[in-house]
C-alpha cells in the first residue's frame, strides 16, 4: 500500500468534502481486494462528484474501484492497480418511486434491505433474492451481476433494469434507457453495466421495474436418491403449465452444507433445508397465487414427483411459512455459506442447457471425488449450477487439488456448450485458476468496448474477463 499524496487528498477533499476522504489505514484495509489496499478512499455525495473524482483520477492515472457494502469485492480478479476506492454508500437515495406505474429509480448505494422495506409498504418488490442480502447495496448487486433463485419466474436484472446513469472511465456522466417499462430509444448501454464489476462505468442511478408481492406463497420439496430423478422432476415441471417462482436442486453435499451450524450462523431462519434427509438429492420449488392455484401446484408437483421416483411413493413436503423473497433463505445464501464452510472455498458458476444438467453435475461430482474434495452443488431450474469445492486446508496441496478439479470441470463444460467461471476462490489462487473461464471468441469485442468506455483503463483495471 502506498500513501496518497497530499495533493491527491487535498483535491479529493475539495470535491467531496474533507469528512468524506478516508485515509485511516484500518478503514482503507477494509476496502482491500486481496493484497491490494487503496491509498485513499472517497465517498462522493452526487453523480457530479463521482464524475469529477473519476476525471481527476484519470488525469492522475489513478486506478479507481467503485464499491458498495463490500460484500462481493472478492469476486473476479483482484485489480491490477488500485489507488482509489470509490465508496458509493452515501449515494443511497431513492430518487423516484411511482407505485402506480411499478417503476422506481434509486442511487446505487441504497441497501437492498432498505429498498425492500420501502417497497413492501406498497406491497411491491424487486426480485433480487441475492446472497449477502442483509448488507448488499443495489449498485453492488447489479454490478456483480449476481443472479437470484427468483429468475425462474422474474428473470434477471437484464430483464427488469429499465435504465441507468453512470460515469465512464473518462469521467463523463452518461445514461441509457429510461424509467418506463418499454423503451427502444438509443442503445441499451445499461445492459453492459450489469455484471461488469465496475469496469465500464461507475453506476450512479438504476431504474427498476417493480413487481406486486404475491398474496400467498408455498414451498415444496422432494427428496430423491439420485440426481437423475430430481432433474427428471425439473423437466416435468418445465413441460407442464406450472410456472413456479423458484426451482432448485441440491446435491447431497449442499444439503449438508446448508444445514450446518455455519449456515445457521449466516442465515438464522430455519430453512426447510434443515430437515432435508441426508444423502439425498433435493428438488425445491416455490410458487404463489390464490388458494386454488396453490392447491393445484401442491397436487401437480406431488404427482410429478411420484412419476419421477418411478415407483410411486415420493418423499415430498410442503412448507407454508414462506414469504417472498425468502422461500429458501439458505439456498439464497449458498455462496455466502460456502465461503464460510471451508478455509479455501472455491465456487464455480456454470450454466448449461437443462437437458445436460445431469451430465454436468456428474462431471462436477467426478472431478471433486477424483481430487478428494468435499463439494456442494446447487442447480437452478434454468440450468445455472453453483458448484462449491470445499477443501479442509488452504495450502499448496489444497490448491493443487482444487486446480485439478476446476480444470476438469471447465474442460467438461467446453464439451457441453456450458459456460464456466470461478467467481470465488482464495485470492492467492486467482492467478492460477480460470476465474473467467476459457477465452471466448467475443472477448476481443469486449476489450474494444472497454476502450470506448474507459480508454485509459481507470476503472477496476484487470478485474474482468479477457484481461479487462
Amino acid at each position: 500500500m502506498t500513501i496518497a499524496s497530499a495533493a491527491t487528498s487535498t483535491r479529493l477533499a475539495e470535491i467531496a468534502g474533507p469528512a468524506n476522504v478516508i485515509s485511516d489505514p484500518v478503514q482503507l484495509a477494509a476496502c482491500a481486494i486481496g493484497a491490494q489496499i487503496p491509498a485513499a478512499a472517497v465517498r462522493p455525495g452526487s453523480s457530479d462528484e463521482v464524475a469529477e473524482i473519476v476525471r481527476f483520477a484519470a488525469a492522475e492515472k489513478l486506478a479507481v474501484v467503485p464499491l458498495g457494502a463490500k460484500t462481493k469485492l472478492s469476486m473476479g480478479l483482484p485489480p491490477a492497480r488500485f489507488d482509489l476506492a470509490l465508496d458509493m454508500t452515501r449515494l443511497d437515495r431513492m430518487s423516484a418511486y411511482d407505485p402506480g406505474d411499478l417503476t422506481l429509480s434509486v442511487e446505487p448505494g441504497i441497501p437492498l434491505a432498505r429498498l425492500a422495506g420501502i417497497l413492501a409498504g406498497h406491497r411491491q418488490f424487486v426480485p433480487l433474492a441475492v446472497p449477502f442480502a442483509s448488507r448488499a447495496t443495489a449498485g453492488g448487486t447489479i454490478a456483480a451481476g449476481i443472479d437470484s433463485p427468483l429468475r425462474q419466474y422474474y428473470g434477471t436484472a437484464r430483464d427488469f433494469v429499465l435504465g441507468m446513469e453512470f460515469v465512464t472511465g473518462d469521467g463523463v456522466a452518461a445514461k441509457s434507457g429510461g424509467r418506463v417499462v418499454k423503451n427502444v430509444s438509443g442503445y441499451d448501454l445499461h445492459k453492459l453495466m450489469i455484471g461488469a464489476l465496475g469496469t465500464l462505468g461507475v453506476i450512479t442511478r438504476i431504474n427498476f421495474r417493480t413487481f406486486p408481492l404475491p398474496a400467498a406463497m408455498l414451498a415444496f420439496t422432494a427428496a430423491f436418491p439420485s440426481a437423475a430423478q430430481a432433474i427428471d422432476l425439473r423437466h416435468r415441471v418445465a413441460q407442464s403449465p406450472l410456472r413456479p417462482l423458484t426451482v432448485e436442486i441440491l446435491a447431497p453435499g449442499a444439503v449438508e452444507m446448508l444445514s450446518s451450524d455455519i449456515a445457521a450462523r449466516i442465515q438464522a431462519r430455519p430453512a426447510p433445508a434443515d430437515s432435508f434427509p441426508k444423502g439425498q438429492w433435493i428438488f425445491t420449488a416455490s410458487f404463489a397465487g390464490n388458494e386454488k392455484v396453490l392447491d393445484r401446484y401442491k397436487r401437480d408437483l406431488t404427482q410429478m414427483a411420484e412419476q419421477s421416483t418411478g415407483n410411486g411413493a415420493a418423499n415430498c413436503a410442503i412448507y407454508g411459512d414462506v414469504k417472498i423473497p425468502d422461500a429458501f433463505p439458505r439456498q439464497r445464501e449458498f455462496a455466502a455459506i460456502a465461503l464460510e464452510s471451508s478455509p479455501a472455498a472455491t465456487i464455480l458458476k456454470l450454466s448449461v442447457l437443462p437437458t445436460r444438467m445431469e451430465n454436468l453435475l456428474a462431471a462436477v461430482a467426478a472431478a471433486a471425488q477424483a481430487a478428494e474434495l468435499r463439494w456442494a452443488a446447487m442447480a437452478r431450474g434454468l440450468g445455472i449450477v453453483y458448484a462449491a469445492l470445499l477443501p479442509e486446508t488452504r495450502d499448496e496441496a489444497a490448491r493443487r487439488a482444487v486446480a485439478e478439479a476446476v480444470s476438469k470441470i471447465v474442460a467438461a463444460c467446453a464439451t457441453m456448450d456450458a459456460n464456466a467461471s470461478v467467481p470465488w476462490c482464495p485470492v492467492e489462487w486467482k492467478s492460477t485458476l480460470p476465474v473467467w473461464g476459457l477465452e471466448r471468441g467475443d472477448f476481443e469485442q469486449m476489450r474494444k468496448l472497454k476502450k470506448m468506455f474507459d480508454p485509459a483503463g481507470t476503472l477496476s483495471p484487470g478485474r474482468f474477463a479477457g484481461g479487462i
Partner: protein, 477 residues
C-alpha cells in the same frame, strides 16, 4: 454505382442474387415509415459466407450497407439513406434447429416471426414477441428493433428472448455473441446488440428462447363510453398489480375504422374498448379475469364481454392487429407515433392527444399497448396538402414532447431510425449520444453499416455523407 462492384456482387451471388435496375429497386426505397431513399442495388445472400463476401466487397468500395428483413419497420431503419447496398435476408429464412426440451430455436434472420411460432406449435411452445406485423416481419428485424407486441406486457420484448447471435460486422469480422445456455461469461453483448437498429452488424443467425403456451386464455372486451374511463381502468389494473398477458386500447374512431374492414364485433357507438388477455393456469385465469372485469366495471364500463371461444378471440385480435391497415384505408397517408409514458399518466396523455387533434384539426386515432404505456396515435393526413403534412409533423412532435415531459420516451418499439434522430437530444445529452456513437464504432468503425440513423445528423461521427432528403410521403423521383 460502381460497375465493378456490381459485377463482383453478381459473381458472388449469381445474377438472381442482385437487383439493380431502377424499376426493381422501387420497392426497396420504402419500409413501413414515411421515409424513402433509393439504394444502388439489393442483394440476396443465402449464407453467412455470402454475407461476409458482400461486406468485404462493400468495404473495398467504401459503399454503405443496409440490412433488410421484411421492410415493415416504422422508423426508416431499412432504408438506404445514403444509397449503397441493401442486404435482403429474405432467402435466409430457415428454422435451423428446434430444441423443444431446452426451449430454444436457432433460426436464420429472414424467418418470419409468425412462422417460427407455427413451426414449433406442435411442441406446445411459441416465440413470445408478437408484433402486430408478425405475419410479415422477420426475426432479424425484430432483433434489430427490439420489437414488442401486445403480449410483451407479460412476456417481455425481443431482447428478453434472444440468447445468442451470429453477426457479421461491417469490417467482415464474424462474431458469435452470447450462448444458448444462460449467463455467458463477460459483458452482455446480445443485450447491447438487440435494438441497435441494424447499425452494429448484420445478423446471420439467432438463438431464441421458446415459451410454453399457456394452459388457458381468456379474452375480455371492456366497452366504455368515455376514453377517460378506459385509461383509468388500465391505470388501476396496473396499480392493483394485475399483469394481464395483453392490455390493448382502441378509441371509438379506430373501432369504427376496424369494424368497417374486419367485422370483429366491436360496438360502433362506444368511445373506447380495452382488449385484455389473461392467461396461465386455469385457476389463475378465472380469478384474474374476474378482477379485471371488476376494475372495468368500477370505472363505468358499459359492458365487459368474455370471448366465448377461440374463434371469437381470434376475431377480436384480428381486429386489433389490423387496426393500422384499417386506418390506412381511410386516408391517403397516416403517420403512427410511438411514444411511451408511465402508466399513471395514461388518462392525462390521452386528454392531451385529444386537445392536439382539435388544435390542428387533424383526425388522430388511438390504438395502442395500453398496459405498457406505449401509445400509437395514428394521425391521418393527405400528403398532397403541404400544410396538413406540416401540421401532422407538429402534432406528432407535440405528443412526443408531452411524453417526454411525463417522464416517458420517444419510442417504445418502432425505433429511432431516420425518423426520430432529431428528437434524440430531447432525451439524451451530447455526452450520452457521443458515448453511444463510440459504442457503435466498436462494432461499425467506419460507419459503413446503416449510416444516417439514430443520431442527429449534425453530430454524426463516422457518417459518410448526407444526401439531401426528399420530403416524406412525396412521390419518389
Amino acid at each position: 454505382m460502381d460497375r465493378r462492384l456490381l459485377q463482383d456482387l453478381e459473381k458472388l451471388l449469381g445474377p438472381r442474387g442482385v437487383l439493380h435496375k431502377s424499376e426493381d429497386l422501387l420497392l426497396y426505397e420504402y419500409d413501413g415509415s414515411v421515409e424513402t431513399a433509393r439504394p444502388d442495388c439489393v442483394v440476396f445472400p443465402r449464407s453467412m459466407a455470402d454475407v461476409v463476401g458482400i461486406v468485404r466487397l462493400a468495404n473495398s468500395h467504401q459503399t454503405p450497407i443496409v440490412g433488410r428483413g421484411a421492410g415493415t419497420g416504422l422508423s426508416g431503419g431499412a432504408i438506404a439513406r445514403h444509397g449503397g447496398i441493401i442486404v435482403s435476408f429474405s432467402r435466409m429464412n430457415r428454422v435451423l434447429e428446434i430444441d423443444a426440451e431446452n426451449q430454444r430455436a436457432r433460426v436464420q434472420p429472414g424467418v418470419v416471426n409468425a412462422d417460427l411460432s407455427l413451426a414449433v406449435a406442435h411442441t406446445g411452445l411459441h416465440f413470445a414477441p408478437d408484433p402486430s406485423s408478425q405475419k410479415a416481419c422477420t426475426i432479424g428485424g425484430n432483433v434489430s428493433e427490439n420489437s414488442g407486441g401486445p403480449h410483451t406486457l407479460a412476456y417481455g420484448v425481443t431482447t428478453n428472448h434472444v440468447v445468442a447471435l451470429d453477426v457479421v460486422l461491417p469490417t467482415g469480422e464474424l462474431l458469435h455473441l452470447g450462448s444458448s445456455a444462460l449467463d455467458p461469461v463477460g459483458y452482455d453483448l446480445p443485450g447491447v446488440f438487440v435494438g441497435s437498429e441494424g447499425t452494429f452488424g448484420l445478423v446471420t443467425e439467432i438463438t431464441v428462447k421458446l415459451t410454453r403456451l399457456p394452459e388457458a386464455v381468456k379474452t375480455l372486451l371492456g366497452i366504455f363510453n368515455s376514453i377517460d374511463d378506459a385509461t383509468e381502468s388500465v391505470a388501476e389494473i396496473t396499480a392493483r398489480g394485475i399483469t394481464p398477458a395483453a392490455c390493448e386500447m382502441m378509441d371509438g374512431w379506430t373501432i369504427r375504422a376496424v369494424e368497417d374492414y374486419i367485422h370483429a364485433g366491436f360496438p360502433l357507438d362506444c368511445a373506447a374498448i380495452l382488449l385484455i388477455d389473461v392467461d396461465g393456469l386455469r385457476e389463475v385465469v378465472d380469478a384474474e379475469a374476474e378482477e379485471v372485469a371488476d376494475v372495468c366495471r368500477v370505472h363505468r364500463a358499459r359492458d365487459v364481454r368474455v370471448a366465448r371461444d377461440a374463434h371469437e378471440r381470434d376475431l377480436l385480435w384480428k381486429g386489433r392487429k389490423n387496426a393500422f391497415g384499417a386506418a390506412g384505408r381511410l386516408a391517403s397517408s397516416y403517420y403512427t407515433q410511438d411514444g411511451v409514458i408511465p402508466r399513471t399518466k395514461l388518462p392525462a396523455t390521452l386528454r392531451r392527444i385529444g386537445e392536439i387533434s382539435r388544435k390542428y384539426n387533424l383526425q388522430i386515432g388511438n390504438v395502442f399497448h395500453a398496459g405498457d404505456g406505449n401509445l400509437h396515435p395514428i394521425i391521418l393526413f393527405d400528403e398532397r396538402n403541404q400544410q396538413q403534412f406540416r401540421d401532422t409533423v407538429r402534432a406528432a412532435d407535440e405528443i412526443i414532447e408531452f411524453c417526454i415531459q411525463s417522464g416517458g420516451s420517444i419510442t417504445g418499439e418502432h425505433g429511432v431510425g431516420m425518423e426520430k434522430d432529431r428528437l434524440m437530444p430531447l432525451l439524451f445529452s451530447e455526452d450520452d449520444l457521443a458515448l453511444m456513437q463510440r459504442v457503435r464504432s466498436a462494432f461499425n468503425p467506419a460507419g459503413l453499416l446503416n449510416p444516417g440513423k439514430i443520431f442527429p445528423n449534425s453530430k454524426g461521427c463516422g457518417e459518410i455523407y448526407v444526401r439531401p432528403q426528399s420530403s416524406a410521403g412525396a412521390v419518389p423521383a
